[in-house]
Symmetry: C2
Subunit: 399 residues, 2 copies
C-alpha cells in the first residue's frame, strides 16, 4: 500500500534523520540550523551584548614581565582549598601565572577551614614571586549554626542521597556553599581588597589573558564577571525562589533598575528558570557582596536554613544577587577567557581564540557533554550546540 | 606453647611489618632505609654523576622574553603526531612555550605519515610566534618493507596479542618505532638542524627551564639527554641483544672507549639488563644518529626484521646506540626538567625544584606506580622508592 502519502512521510523521515545526524556531527551545520539562529533571521538582528565589543587596547600589556605596570587594581586571587588539594591547586595556580599573572603580579589569598601545613605553604609560595597569604576560616563562618534543626537537616540529606543528588549527603559541601555565599568576602585577609578572582583546583585556563580584567571591572563599574552559565539542579533549591520573592517583596528598594531579572526568570519573576553563573570562576567586586542589598539578602536566605535543609549552592545565590541588585551592564561575560572546570568548558571563538593563543578546541564549547554522566532535568535538553548553557538567555537581556 | 623463640619471631615479624608499612607510606623513611642507601653508607660516598653539578649560570636567561638571546644552538622541537592528536599536542606545546620557549624561541617541526589538515596547522601556528614547519613522512620510511615475511610477522603479532603484550598486535606502532629508530633524523625538514627536543602529546612539563639545554649539549659535547630511565618489557625484544652482540663483534671499531655499557649490562655485555632511556623525551644530537656507527647499527638491526618479527622499541635502540657509540659523559640526565608521560614522571628534588618553580610533588618521582596496571617483570620489583627506575644504574657508571 505505497500511497503518495507514504512516500512523502518516508522522504520527510529521511530528511529529519539526516538533519539530526548532521546537527550532532557537524557543528557549523548545527549552529546554522538551530532554532535560535533561525528565529534570529526572522526577527532581524539583535543589538549586541556588551562582551561582543572588543576589550580596549589600553588594558593590554606588552609581552614583557620586566615592565612595571603603571596602574593596578586593588585585587587578589582567592583560593578556598584543603591541604589535600595541593596538587590540584598548584596545577591551577601555575596556569594563572602562565596565562596572566607573571605579567600582572597580583597577590593570592588561600583560605582553609584548617591551618595550612608548612609544606603546602612552601610549595605554593615557590610558584610565584608575588605575595601569598594563608588564612584560616573562623569556625562560625564554616560550620552548621546551632539553631539549624539537625533532625530536619539530616532527614533532608538522606532523602537527597536516596535521590542520587550530587553532594546530597555532604555537610562539608553545604558549609562550603554557605561560606562562599555569605562569608568569604568578610574574611580578614580580604578586607583590604576590592576585587577578586576565584580559582579552584584542577581548572584549565586555555588562553593568554594579556589585559587586566580587574582594571576593566573597576573602570567600567562592573560588579560580577563569569565565563560559564548553566542550569541549576532543581532538587537542590526547591524553596530558594520562594525565599527570593519574599525578600524582594519586603525590600523592593534593593532591586536595581535595569537589572538582569530576565536572565533568571522567563515570567517576570514569577518562577526561576534555574539559570546561574557557574561560580567556580568569578571575577567580582567584594564591595558589592559587602553592600547593604546583598548582605541583607544573604542574611534573609541564611535564616531560612536552606543551605542545610536543602542544598543551596553559592552559584545560584551569587547569580540571583548579582542579577537583581546590579544593573545588567554590570554583569560581564569574559568571552575571551578560555576556561574548563570538569565537565564543562568555555572556549573563545574566532578572533578572541587567535588573540589569546588559546589551546582549546573552539568547536568544543561545552565539554564532552555527550559522554558526561551529569544528571540534568530532561526539559532542558535541546539540540542547540550549547544545549544546557544559559548564554543565549544572557544575550537576550541585551536585545 | 609460647616458647622464647615464638616471642622472638613474633617481635621480628612485627618489626618487619612496621618497616614495610613505613617504607611505603613515609617516603623519607623509605629512602633512608633502602638497600642502596644503606650499602652507600657501608662503601663510603661515591663520586657524583655529572648531572649533580649545577648548570652554569651562563646558560640561564633573565626572565624577559623581550631580550634577544645572544647565542643560539642550531636546534628544533620535533613532534611526530597524527591529525587526531591535535588537542594532546597543543597541550604539550603550550607547556613547552610556557616553561621554556617563550623566552628561547626555537622552531618546531611536525611530522606525520599523512598530510596535516589546514585546521591542524592553523591551530598549532596560533600557539607560538616562532617558525613551525609541517612535513609528511616518505612512505618507505614508514611502512613495513616488502622483504619482511608478513606471515611470520603476523604470527608473532598474534602471539603477542595472546600474551597481552602492550601494542603487541599493532603494525602502526611498529612503523613508528622503526621510524623513530632510524628515519626521523633523515627527514628533509630536519636536515638543517643539529639538535632536537622530542615532544609527545599530553606530556606535562613541571618546571621552568630557564637555561638553554641545546647550547649546553653543544658546548659540553653531549649527544643524548634524558629525564626518565626504566626497564624494557623483555617480551618485545627477545633477540635484540643477540643482534647487538653480533653487530659489536663484527664492528668493534664503532664501540666508544669509556662508553656506558655498564648501564645496559651487569655482566660486561653478555646479557642486557633491559635498562633504557625513555625516548618519548629526548634532547639529542641529530648528527650522532646520522654518524657512521649508529647508521650502520640501525641498518643491521633493521635487516634482522626485529621491528616487525618482534616489537623492538626506539627507546632501547636509541639507548643502546647512545650507550655504546658515545662516551658515558656524553649522555646527560636532565635532572632539572620535571616531566610526566603517563604513567611515569620525574620531579626534580631540593634546589632544582625551587629554582624551576616546579609544580610537581618532589615526593612522587615515579608516578602513582602502585595504581598503574603496567605489567613489569616481577624480578625488578624492589622496595626502593624508585623501584623500576634505572637511575641508580646510570649513577653507578660514574662511580
Amino acid at each position: 500500500m505505497m500511497t503518495p502519502m507514504r512516500y512523502i512521510l518516508l522522504v520527510l523521515g529521511a530528511i529529519i534523520s539526516i538533519h539530526y545526524i548532521l546537527s550532532f556531527t557537524h557543528e557549523e551545520y548545527g549552529k546554522a540550523t538551530s532554532i535560535s539562529s533561525i528565529t534570529e533571521q526572522w526577527t532581524g538582528s539583535k543589538s549586541n551584548p556588551p562582551y561582543k565589543t572588543p576589550v580596549p587596547d589600553e588594558y593590554y600589556k606588552p609581552d614583557s614581565p620586566m615592565d612595571i605596570q603603571d596602574r593596578k587594581a586593588n585585587a587578589t586571587f582567592v583560593m578556598l582549598v584543603r591541604n589535600s588539594d595541593l596538587s590540584g591547586i598548584m596545577s591551577s595556580m601555575k596556569q594563572i601565572e602562565d596565562r596572566f599573572n607573571r605579567k600582572f603580579q597580583y597577590p593570592y589569598v588561600f583560605l582553609n577551614d584548617e591551618p595550612f601545613t608548612q609544606t603546602f605553604k612552601d610549595r605554593i609560595q615557590a610558584l610565584t614571586n608575588t605575595t601569598v597569604e594563608f588564612g584560616v576560616i573562623p569556625s562560625d563562618h564554616w560550620h552548621q549554626p546551632s539553631w539549624v534543626d539537625e533532625d530536619r537537616a539530616s532527614k533532608s540529606r538522606q532523602e537527597m542521597v536516596n535521590n542520587n543528588v550530587i553532594y546530597g549527603g555532604s555537610v562539608p559541601y553545604r558549609n562550603m556553599c554557605r561560606f562562599n555565599s555569605g562569608f568569604f568576602y568578610r574574611h580578614e585577609l580580604l578586607q583590604k581588597y576590592r576585587y577578586y578572582w576565584r580559582v579552584e583546583p584542577d581548572i584549565k585556563l586555555f588562553c593568554d589573558v594579556d589585559y587586566d580584567p580587574f582594571l576593566m571591572m573597576q573602570d567600567q563599574n562592573k560588579v560580577y564577571g563569569f565565563t560559564i552559565s548553566l542550569y541549576e539542579y532543581q532538587a537542590t533549591i526547591p524553596t530558594l525562589w520562594t525565599a527570593v520573592k519574599s525578600f524582594i517583596n519586603a525590600n523592593p528598594e534593593f532591586v536595581a533598575p535595569g537589572n538582569a531579572m530576565a536572565f533568571l526568570s522567563d515570567d517576570a519573576g514569577e518562577s526561576y528558570n534555574l539559570c546561574h553563573f557557574w561560580s567556580n570562576f568569578e571575577i567580582a567586586d567584594l564591595d558589592f557582596w559587602r553592600g547593604e542589598a546583598y548582605s541583607k539578602f544573604f542574611e534573609y536566605l541564611d535564616e531560612q536554613g536552606g543551605f542545610y535543609y536543602e542544598r543551596w549552592g553559592d552559584a545560584p545565590v551569587h547569580s540571583i544577587g548579582a542579577a537583581l541588585f546590579a544593573k545588567k551592564e554590570q554583569i560581564h561575560f569574559f568571552n575571551d577567557i578560555g576556561y574548563r572546570h570538569e565537565p564543562f568548558q568555555h572556549c573563545p571563538q574566532g578572533d578572541a581564540h587567535a588573540k589569546g593563543k588559546c589551546w582549546c578546541d573552539p568547536g568544543q564549547n561545552f565539554g564532552k557533554y555527550l559522554h558526561t554522566n551529569v544528571r540534568l532535568p530532561l526539559k532542558f535538553i535541546s539540540l542547540d550546540y550549547e544545549w544546557y548553557s544559559c548564554l543565549n538567555r544572557y544575550d537576550k537581556i541585551f536585545s
